[in-house]
Amino acid sequence: DQQVKQNSPSLSVQEGRISILNCDYTNSMFDYFLWYKKYPAEGPTFLISISSIKDKNEDGRFTVFLNKSAKHLSLHIVPSQPGDSAVYFCAAIWSGGSNYKLTFGKGTLLTVNP
């Protein structure tokens, strides 16, 4: 039972254009969402997050949108750069849980072509 789904295993965009990575979740208890970026042979690094009380959070070129009614979030990268090429994981958490464990999607490999 996959509670966090990233249905696109890969995405390819041209440098300078917008990258949109999507994530869906099924557990309505989730109230905090994070995006992580992972380069090969490295651990995931935190990118941006959003609380369920908001519908948008922006940090530089990165914006995360949350649609609670649709249980959907997306990460927008504008403009995309070749250095953004990595695997992006969506993760969700239930703050009321006892262990604050992150539930991850399977990831989307983003390739930004020069």
């Binding site: 994981f89 703050s95 262990n99 604050y100 464990k101 992150l102």
Partner: protein, 114 residues
Amino acid sequence: GAGVSQSPSNKVTEKGKDVELRCDPISGHTALYWYRQSLGQGLEFLIYFQGNSAPDKSGLPSDRFSAERTGGSVSTLTIQRTQQEDSAVYLCAGTPGLASHEQFFGPGTRLTVL
């Protein structure tokens, strides 16, 4: 060190052997998690330590897996009688405490069971 360290970075072992993976979290991070990422999968929660509380072992896949955390710092994940399906990247992460949802990951240990 400034970040989370894990050792070894790579481990190749024969089926049936025991392995021990080590995680050295960021100093002061009271919460520690182990995850694993199998090929083509997202990160799967294994176990969680928080301070002196009993660990949450709900994600451990079998009784061949165990983990301990000594002195609230270094943690070791032990896999006994390894099987080929244990092959994965094992990631350790920490947080400063329950108030923070952002988890800081180590580079992982790639385990290959022949």
